[in-house]
Amino acid sequence: MTGEMTMPPSQVQTAPARTRPSPRTLPGGAAGGAVFVLVVVVTALAGGQYAVYTGTLIGIYALVTVSQEWIIGRAGLVSLGSAAIMAVGAYVTARLSTTSWSVFPIPLVVAMIFGAVVGLLIGVPGLRFRGLYLMLTTLALQFIVAFAGQKYQGVENQSGFVVNPPHWGSLDLGSPRALFIITCVVLGLVLLALRGIYGGAAGRIWNAMRQDEAAASVLGVNLVRWKLTAFIGSSALTALGGSLYAYQAGLVSYGTFSLDLSLTLLVMVFIGGLGTLVGPILGAAVIVLLPNGIERLSGAFAGIPQVADWLSLHEATVANGIYGLLLLLVLLFERDGIYGLVRRLGSAAAGQWHRRVRRGAVQ
């Protein structure tokens, strides 16, 4: 019937993929690290209850977005199942936290192993084909994990599995401040490790693959193996994020880890900016703080009750709409995300400054 037009258009589009500068890591490494440590120490020592809680949430999401950036920004693949893999980590942590295996780092490590195994299982069918197929495979994963979680919880655990706080023997690590510090230390270690990986041969291979798969393949890169490596590593770290999430929430239920969460994580990565480690962290911070911002906004409209009421009534929907809009705008106008925008404005401002200095306007 339509046999003569079987060639999919994506095969014939020869427009060159936008080339990016080689991946940047932390800006100047040491400087970024110093800022990170400073923020963490100040929050841990002086932050109020809200700052510590929000900081932990940002830290957890940042861990997941950084690991998703591994596959999106490095390997050029997109997963719609990050929430499902977080769920795997969270369930493992919840179950182990009530056993003798609950001593602090053990549940986290086991969660990572489970995450890696799920990544392998889902990556083998999903990665034999081009990027879009991984989206479909992980979409299936998302629904299958939610269903399995629902069945696993059964009737007696309908509201979810309780998570006992992390501990070292008799030392309880479950206070909000201790959880904040644990989250930030874990995130810091992951950032250091990823910086090492991206700076080495593996980082260059992923970079080559993302820019031109055919060329990389001709140079001897085994595409499937390297994509699978990125996907398994990123799944392990995503499950680690799920494990920390379980500790913070104290209760693990399938409803939390919905497709909406996966999409929100995806939005965080894209609006933060690909190709950097800072971008996804910024994206996580912006999206976590956004509902709060809308609340403030409805406070600012207190003089016009109609607007204020409408905003507070539709807070969640408006926040959702802003995520979607930000994602569209970033993809249309600023592919490097918020971090790219900040850098561009920064270097424009610096250029202005230098011109003024040259003209002698500044002494």
Partner: protein
Amino acid sequence: MNADIANVISNGLVTGCIYALIGVGFVVVFRATGVVSFAQGAFMVLGALIFAGLARAGLGLAVGLPVMLVVMLVIGGVIYRLVFARIAGAEAFVASIATVGLGIVLEVIALLIWGPEVIAVPQLFNFRSRVHVVGELNFSALNLFVMGLTVVAFVVIVVGLNRTPVGLRMRAVANNPQLAAYSGVRVVRTSMIAWGIGGLTAGLAGVLYLLGSQPDPVTVYSLGLAAFPAILLGGLDSIPGSLVGGILIGLLQAAIGVFVGGEWQDVGAYCVLLAVLLLRPQGIFGSAEIGRL
């Protein structure tokens, strides 16, 4: 014939027709622009809400349905022009991510305008009259209406693609956008038509789903994602595939619903999706060269 089997056939065919309509719009968009659209669910919501609004205003099927179709055609085309024509040169996968954002934005707009309640629509014709076919198998008037419109939509699309100048241009763009542009085909305009058809068929699917059950917008939206197993089974780039895949998944889900339990329906469809990816990633009718590494 067993009453259960008769039930499976009539329910499965109706669900399958809705999947097929979502799927055919998806396929037309995918072939013309290479974009995997995650926004079909949002177009369904818009179509259903626009139609419900017209029906509440007193317009019947004969006026309301064509008006909705035209509005959706325009919305689809305008969205392509405003959003996706700008990222035409980028990797198709970036545009596919953008459809995720687009879907969210359209759904939120619909929710803010019409609210999250069950979509109210007046009863437009007598659902209950049933047509006896053979044995226990019988269809309600609504079932026949759904199947009839699906057949009409497929005939129009297939004939349109194969027998009209617009269809010829669309096939040219699908085959090779650059060559088509060199031969004088206006690629952007043709792609707008493809996106318009995508919006129109999704809107039609949304209305047919609305007439059969009493869904709220979020339920309609998630049906757009639930159609992916059917689309992949038929083949991402095959129009007959979208019909066959839709009907097969519809029948499978109806059978699961009757013989296993309703809660297993979605997960069963997604297991089929995984199996198709493992065994025959191009689907039943898709072209083999789609994306093997």
